[in-house]
Subunit: 291 residues, 2 copies
DNA sequence: TTGTTTTGATAAATTTTCCTTATTGCGAGA
DNA sequence: TCTCGCAATAAGGAAAATTTATCAAAACAA
């Protein structure tokens, strides 16, 4: 079999034109080098060097082989360098999924800090619903995802990042109370995102509301639409603080915080248990937590 | 030290996504492969594969390393081939691809002459469509291919072999003209091979016919079927001379040559630019040309 | 849950490869 | 002819790779 060792010995021989010195150059005894060169010659079926008293010189075939050998050795060296530059957390491509009800509010803060701390990170973002993110994670199409906990997938690991408290959003009322209790949510008047959006389930769960057939069945398909509806006085809804901080057009809405124990959703990071190392994930989690 | 053995085991692992099967592929026990992979990983200082129950999957770093590895292995393979070709042309194994619309007509003449001139040649033939041949050439699975020019791959080199003029094949007509002009092709009546066959594109291009929605849309999937249809009087088609010389069942068909400038396709030989030497290809080309 | 199967990792023994030292053979120049 | 320098060869030992056997963890089926 052809080996890299043979090629590098041959390279040394070409440089020195002398078996003894070539052997010295690669820190090996002269017979060892001789044997490897002969091995290379028989393997290729070609005479590569012409031995003459005083030293050795390459044949025409040898020169061609040398050129190709050096290309190979160079490529190998490149591969080895590649390894070194790729070390350390969050280096190179990293595929991160985010649920839509977090993405637009969290990312603007997060991305610049990531770029500062990990300049060699090539972040590939994907925004999708929780169920999609989970399956893409499991299949190895994503490296990690930011979503609301808890998850039940037992091939995934999660870490909590922060709590995101809910607010009650109602049409503007001058006499809005400073804070209300979670038990005082106006059920008949409540409007949520359509079925399938995780924000809907989170809101229901956080506030301990059972799904109610009497509840207004118009499911808004996006948060912006939903806020539009509230603004126009149609209903109330539950908004996570995360959205409030960034969403525009909240002027005509009253945002009422809850009394303790305030309902909230837990935002966390998820990744495969079988993922190579955890350093990427802890590094990412730290960046997000220290905002 | 990094070795070629490690790279080829890693290549196998990438192909199989499974340690056991990868080991089988390289004819070695599973632990042997596992050890070499781990060695490669520690040497590069990178985790290359993610082990999970069910198999193994490349990490992002692993994918990059794989690409570089394959380049190296390909270069090594070329170097090995170089040895053989340097000892005289067409010596030892030679993998030749041929497109189906040439193979059955060209090979019966060519093979005996090749055997006479180059008795040590071990020809390995592969018949496939142009796109397949090109990709197999590029990946180093073929040494050369006979197909219709021109090609656009800039990592391949080509040489024209001969011109193969087209004939118009119509159902038998006693008063068939001795020759017709290319501009007089009966478009409405024209039947060609289905989309994807290069012969179809060549015919259209050679005769400067734009794809026409009115054209009969029944695409025949093989040349034999096509000729069958013509025989039964359904339509006309364009046949290259190459096929006419050998195809059976042409008795009930009128074959009308074209007036100058007669449309034709160019048959040529293609190989990798990076191929060790050109002598194989010129030798092969000469054999084909001097038929 | 509890066996059962499958997967990759690990261990120990063995084979293969490679290396070192010692020696030989060959050719050029004194 | 003698001798010096060079590469090839031989023999024994060290290192690397492989094999078989076994293990632990995870997935799967009962």
């Amino acid at each position: 079999m052809l080996t890299l060792r043979q090629l590098s010995y041959f390279d040394a021989l070409a440089k020195e034109q002398h078996f003894g010195r070539a052997a010295e150059r690669v820190a090996v005894s002269q017979p060892a080098l001789s044997v490897q060169i002969r091995e290379l010659e028989t393997h290729l079926g070609l005479q590569l060097v012409e031995r003459f008293s005083g030293g050795a010189r390459l044949t025409e075939a040898g020169k061609d082989v040398l050129e190709k050998s050096r290309q190979i050795l160079l490529a190998v060296q490149e591969l080895e360098t590649f390894g070194q530059t790729r070390q350390g957390p969050l280096n190179g491509p990293f595929r991160l999924g985010v649920i839509p009800s977090i993405g637009p509010y969290l990312l603007p803060d997060m991305l610049p800090r990531l770029r500062t701390h990990y300049p060699h990170l090539e972040l590939i973002l994907r925004e999708s619903r929780t169920t999609n993110l989970i399956s893409e994670l499991s299949q190895g199409h994503l490296d990690a995802a930011i979503l609301a906990l808890p998850l039940e997938e037992d091939n995934l690991k999660t870490q909590a990042l922060f709590e995101d408290p809910f607010y009650l959003a109602t049409p503007k009322q001058p006499d809005a109370p400073a804070a209300i209790s979670a038990t005082a949510i106006p059920m008949d008047d409540l409007l949520l995102l359509e079925e399938g959006h995780c924000l809907r389930d989170q809101a229901l769960q956080a506030c301990s509301i059972a799904t109610n057939p009497l509840m207004k069945s118009f499911g808004a398909s996006s948060l912006t639409t939903l806020i539009q509806l509230i603004t126009n006085g149609y209903a109330s809804t539950l908004l996570p603080q995360m959205c409030i901080e960034k969403e525009a057009g909240l002027d005509h809405i009253s945002l009422i915080p809850f009394l303790d124990p305030a309902p909230s959703r837990t935002i966390g990071l998820a990744w495969r248990k079988s993922a190579p190392t955890e350093q990427d994930f802890t590094a990412l989690a730290n960046i997000i937590k220290n905002r």
